[in-house]
C-alpha cells in the first residue's frame, strides 16, 4: 500500500474516531470525553511517554533494545531539577538532556562495545538511575545544605527559579478564545472538535511544542536522510552496512546516546510540569513509553498514537472517573462494527468457518455484556478505573499486533567482522 493511501486512511480513521466519540459523548452526556480540559491533560500526560517512546525508537531502529529508558528518565528528572533551581528552565533542559544522554552512553558502552545482552544492561541502568539520584540528593540536599535552605529535601529539589513559558493560539484559544466559546455550546461534533482543538492549543508548554515537533523531525531524519538510512541499516542488517563501509559502532553509539537524551528530555518535561524534581515522579513512564513504541510498530506516528492513547485514558480517568464507564458503550459499539465488517467480508454464511463463528459469537456476547455493564454500572471501583489505559493497550494489541514488524537485527549482538 502506498504512503499516500496510508496517509488518507489515517485521516479517515481519525475522523471516524472523533465522530464516534462525539456520538458517545452525546448519548452518555459525559462531556469530559471531549472537553478541552481532558485533551490538555491528555497532552500533558502523553508527552513524557511519547518522548520515552522516541528514545526507544531511536535505539531500536539502530538495533539496540533499550529498557533502560526508565533509569535514563530518572537521571533526566534529577539533573533538570538540580540545574533548574539554580539557572532556570533552559539550564534544566540542557542538564536533563545531558544526564539522559550519559545514561544512554553507558548503555551503548555495555551493549555495543562489550556486546552485553541489551536487556541486562537496561535493567542495570534502571537500578543505577534511582540509586545515583537518591545518592546525589542525600549528598547535595541534606539538612543545612544551601539547596536545603532553598526548599530542597532528600526527595525533592528546590523549585525552578522560573517556569518554562507557555503559549496559546491567539484569538482561537486565547483572548477572545473562540474555540472555548464554541466548545461551551456543546453542539454535536462542532463542540467536540472545538474542545479537542482548544485543549491541544491553550496554554501549551514550549517543551510540549518541542516534543511534538520531534515526531516529524524523527521521521524525516530516519527515513529521508542518509544518516537515517545508515542508522536503520544498523538495525536491519549491520553486517551489510559494515561491508559498505558504514561505521556501525559509531552509528549505534550515536543512536543510543540520542535515545538516552530523549528519555532525559521526558524527565525534564516532568520537572517542568511539577516545577521541581520529585523522587519517583517518573512512575514507570519509561516502560510505558517502550510499550507505546512497540504498540506503534517502531514508527513515530504509531508511537504518537500509543502515547496519546495512554495520555488520554489517564487524563480522562483523573478528571472524571464516571466518564470511563462510557468506554463500555464505546467497546460495545466497536464490537458491533467489527461484527458487521466480518459478516460482510464473508460472502454467504456457507463460507464461514468454525473460527469465524466462534469469533463472531464472542463479539456478540462481548458487546452484550459491555452494553449491559454500561447500563447497570454507574461508577467502577477506582482500581478498575486506574487500569483503563493498560487494558486499552492490551486490547488494541490483541487486534493489531499481527502487523507489527520490528527491525530484523533488533537486540542482536553485533561484532565487527563476525557475521554468521
Amino acid at each position: 500500500m502506498t504512503r499516500t493511501r496510508k496517509y488518507h486512511l489515517a485521516l479517515v480513521g481519525v475522523a471516524a474516531a472523533i465522530l464516534l466519540v462525539a456520538l458517545i459523548r452525546l448519548i452518555t452526556g459525559a462531556d469530559e470525553i471531549t472537553s478541552s480540559g481532558t485533551f490538555a491533560a491528555a497532552l500533558m500526560l502523553a508527552v513524557p511517554i511519547g518522548l520515552a517512546g522516541l528514545g526507544g525508537l531511536w535505539a531500536e531502529r539502530a538495533g539496540v533494545v533499550n529498557i533502560g529508558l526508565e533509569g535514563m528518565m530518572v537521571l533526566g528528572t534529577w539533573f533538570a531539577g538540580w540545574a533548574g533551581y539554580q539557572w532556570g528552565p533552559y539550564a534544566a533542559l540542557v542538564a536533563g538532556l545531558l544526564a539522559g544522554a550519559i545514561g544512554g552512553l553507558i548503555h551503548a558502552i555495555a551493549t555495543v562495545t562489550f556486546g552485553v545482552d541489551h536487556i541486562i544492561s537496561g535493567v542495570a541502568i534502571n537500578l543505577l538511575g534511582p540509586g545515583v539520584t537518591r545518592f546525589l540528593s542525600e549528598v547535595l540536599y541534606k539538612e543545612g545544605s544551601p539547596a536545603n535552605q532553598a526548599g530542597a529535601g532528600i526527595t525533592t529539589s528546590p523549585a525552578m527559579s522560573s517556569a518554562a513559558p507557555e503559549l496559546s493560539l491567539p484569538l482561537l484559544s486565547d483572548g477572545p478564545d473562540w474555540l472555548g466559546s464554541l466548545e461551551s455550546t456543546r453542539w454535536f461534533l462542532i463542540g467536540d472538535v472545538a474542545g479537542i482543538l482548544r485543549g491541544l492549543t491553550h496554554n501549551v508548554n514550549v517543551l510540549v511544542i518541542l516534543a511534538v515537533l520531534m515526531l516529524p523531525l524523527t521521521f524525516f531524519v530516519l527515513w529521508h536522510t542518509s544518516f537515517g538510512l545508515r542508522l536503520r541499516s544498523a538495525g536491519e542488517n549491520p553486517w551489510a552496512a559494515e561491508s559498505l563501509g558504514v561505521n556501525v559502532y559509531r552509528i549505534k553509539y550515536i543512536a543510543v546516546v540520542i535515545s538516552g537524551a530523549f528519555a532525559g528530555l521526558g524527565g525534564v518535561f516532568l520537572v517542568f510540569v511539577s516545577t521541581k524534581y520529585v523522587e519517583g515522579q517518573t512512575a514507570g513512564r519509561g516502560f510505558i513509553g517502550l510499550a507505546a513504541m512497540i504498540f506503534g510498530n517502531w514508527r513515530p506516528g504509531g508511537l504518537a498514537a500509543g502515547a496519546a492513547l495512554f495520555g488520554y485514558a489517564d487524563g480522562l480517568q483523573l478528571r472524571s472517573q464516571g466518564a470511563i464507564t462510557s468506554f463500555l458503550l464505546l467497546g460495545a459499539i466497536l464490537l458491533l462494527i467489527y461484527l458487521g465488517v466480518r459478516a460482510r467480508r464473508a460472502d454467504g454464511l456457507s463460507a464461514l468457518t468454525v473460527k469465524d463463528y466462534t469469533a463472531m459469537g464472542a463479539a456478540v456476547v462481548g458487546a452484550a455484556v459491555l452494553f449491559w455493564l454500561w447500563l447497570t454500572v454507574d461508577r467502577l471501583p477506582n482500581e478498575f478505573v486506574f487500569i483503563t489505559p493498560h487494558v486499552l493497550t492490551l486490547l488494541v494489541l490483541l487486534v493489531a499486533s499481527q502487523r507489527l514488524r520490528m527491525p530484523k537485527a533488533d537486540g542482536v549482538r553485533y561484532r565487527r567482522g563476525e557475521q554468521h
Binding site: I120, V123, L128, V132, F287, F384, H390, T393
Partner: protein, 379 residues
C-alpha cells in the same frame, strides 16, 4: 584442562574482578560524601556486636536472599528461551494475595495446609502468566509489553481484592489493610536449627524462614528440569535457535505456553516466604519490586540456578547493610549503586571471559583440524 572447567574458572575470575571494580567505584562515591570507605565496608561486614545480633543479621540476609533467589529462578526460566517475562512482578503479587486468602479460609494439619497454599500460589501465578503466553501464541502480542501492562493491572487488582472481597477484619483504628490472618497451621516453621548447628543462638523475630528449604529444593528441581530433561533441552534449543528447534519437532507455541506458565508458577512462590514465615497475611506492607530485582539477579546469575543463588546471596548481603551504613553515616543508596554497577560490570566480565573461552575452543577445534603448525599458533 577440560573446556567446561576452564570456562567455569574464567567466569569466576571475571566476576571477582568485576566486583572488586564495583567496590572501587562505590568507594569513590563514598569519599565524595566525605565518609570513609573503610567505615562503609566495615558497616557491610558489621553483623552486630552480640552473637544474637550476628545470627539475626545472618537470618535477615538469608531471608532476603531466599525471596530474591526464587524471583531470579522465575525470571530465568523465561529468559532461557528468550522469553522476556517482565511480568514476574505482577504474577507474584496476584499469587500471594490469592494464596494468603485461600490459606486463611480453612484449617488443616500444617503439612496439608502449607502444601495447599503453595499449590494455590503456584497455580495463581501460572494462570496469570498464561494470559501473556496465550496472547503471544494466538495473536503474536510481544510479551514484554503485555507483561508490563499486566503488572500495572495486577497491582490494582490486588489493591481491589485486599480492600474488597479478600479483606480481613481489623482492629479499631488500624490503618493497614490485609487479608485475614493465616491460622497457626499455615505458619511455616523457622529453621533456626541450621544457625544453631553453627553454634549461633536463635535469631530474633521470625528467625530464619523455613521456606529456605523449599527454595533450595526448588532450585535443585529447576536445575534438573532445565539441564537434564527433555523439556529443559527443548527450552534451551528454542532459546538458542528457534527455527532449528521448530525444524526438529519442538512446538514453539507449546514451549512458550509451558515455559511462561512454569515461570509464572515459580513467580507465584516469591511472596510466600514473607507471608508464611513473617506477615502471615497479604497486606499493605507486602514487599513490592521483587520481580524487577529478580531480573537483575537472574541475569547476574546467568540464568543458571547456582549462579542465581550466588547473586541472590550477594544482593541479600548488600541489602542487609541498609541500617549499619546509616549508623556509619554513609548514605544507604550506596547499596543500590553497588548493585547496579556490579550487575553491569559482572555481565561485561562475562562477555569478555566467555569470548576468551570461545577463542580457546576454536583454537582446539582448529588444531584438531590440523591446519596449522605449532610455530604459528605460538605467534
Amino acid at each position: 584442562m577440560p573446556a567446561g572447567l576452564f570456562r567455569a574458572l574464567l567466569t569466576v575470575a571475571g566476576a571477582v574482578a568485576a566486583i572488586v571494580l564495583a567496590i572501587g567505584i562505590s568507594s569513590v562515591a563514598i569519599v565524595a560524601v566525605g565518609a570513609s570507605p573503610a567505615d562503609a565496608f566495615a558497616a557491610f561486614l558489621n553483623f552486630g556486636a552480640t552473637e544474637k545480633a550476628v545470627s539475626t543479621s545472618i537470618a535477615d540476609m538469608l531471608n532476603r536472599a531466599v525471596t530474591l533467589f526464587i524471583a531470579g529462578l522465575a525470571v530465568a526460566i523465561g529468559f532461557r528461551m528468550n522469553l522476556f517475562n517482565i511480568g514476574v512482578e505482577g504474577q507474584y503479587r496476584i499469587a500471594a494475595i490469592c494464596a494468603a486468602f485461600v490459606g486463611s479460609t480453612f484449617v488443616a494439619p500444617a503439612p496439608i495446609q502449607i502444601t495447599v497454599i503453595i499449590i494455590v500460589a503456584a497455580a495463581a501465578g501460572g494462570l496469570y502468566a498464561l494470559i501473556p503466553a496465550v496472547m503471544k501464541v494466538t495473536r503474536g502480542v510481544n510479551e514484554v509489553i503485555s507483561t508490563i501492562m499486566l503488572n500495572y493491572i495486577a497491582i490494582n487488582l490486588a489493591a481491589f481484592l485486599v480492600r474488597g472481597p479478600f479483606a480481613g477484619e481489623r482492629a479499631e483504628g488500624q490503618l493497614t489493610t490485609s487479608t485475614p490472618v493465616l491460622p497457626e497451621s499455615a505458619w511455616f516453621p523457622n529453621v533456626n536449627a541450621l544457625l544453631e548447628m553453627f553454634g549461633l543462638p536463635a535469631p530474633r523475630g521470625d528467625g530464619l524462614w523455613g521456606f529456605l528449604i523449599v527454595a533450595i529444593l526448588l532450585g535443585v528441581g529447576i536445575w534438573l528440569v532445565l539441564e537434564r530433561t527433555r523439556f529443559g533441552f527443548e527450552v534451551k534449543a528454542s532459546g538458542l535457535n528457534a527455527p532449528a528447534a521448530l525444524a526438529s519437532g519442538v512446538d514453539p507455541k507449546r514451549m512458550v505456553i509451558s515455559a511462561m506458565v512454569l515461570s509464572g508458577a515459580v513467580a507465584g512462590l516469591i511472596g510466600l516466604p514473607e507471608i508464611l514465615g513473617d506477615e502471615h497475611a497479604f497486606g499493605s506492607n507486602f514487599t513490592p519490586g521483587l520481580g524487577f530485582l529478580g531480573i537483575a539477579v537472574a541475569l547476574l546469575g546467568r540464568n543458571k540456578p547456582a549462579g542465581i543463588a550466588v547473586a541472590a546471596l550477594l544482593f541479600g548481603f548488600l541489602d542487609r547493610a541498609q541500617g549499619p551504613l546509616q549508623f556509619a553515616d554513609v548514605p544507604p543508596s550506596v547499596i543500590t549503586i553497588m548493585q547496579g554497577t556490579i550487575v553491569l560490570l559482572v555481565v561485561i566480565a562475562n562477555e569478555i571471559t566467555s569470548r576468551i573461552a570461545l577463542r580457546r575452543e576454536e583454537r582446539r577445534a582448529a588444531q584438531a583440524l590440523g591446519r596449522n603448525t605449532p610455530v604459528e599458533v605460538a605467534a
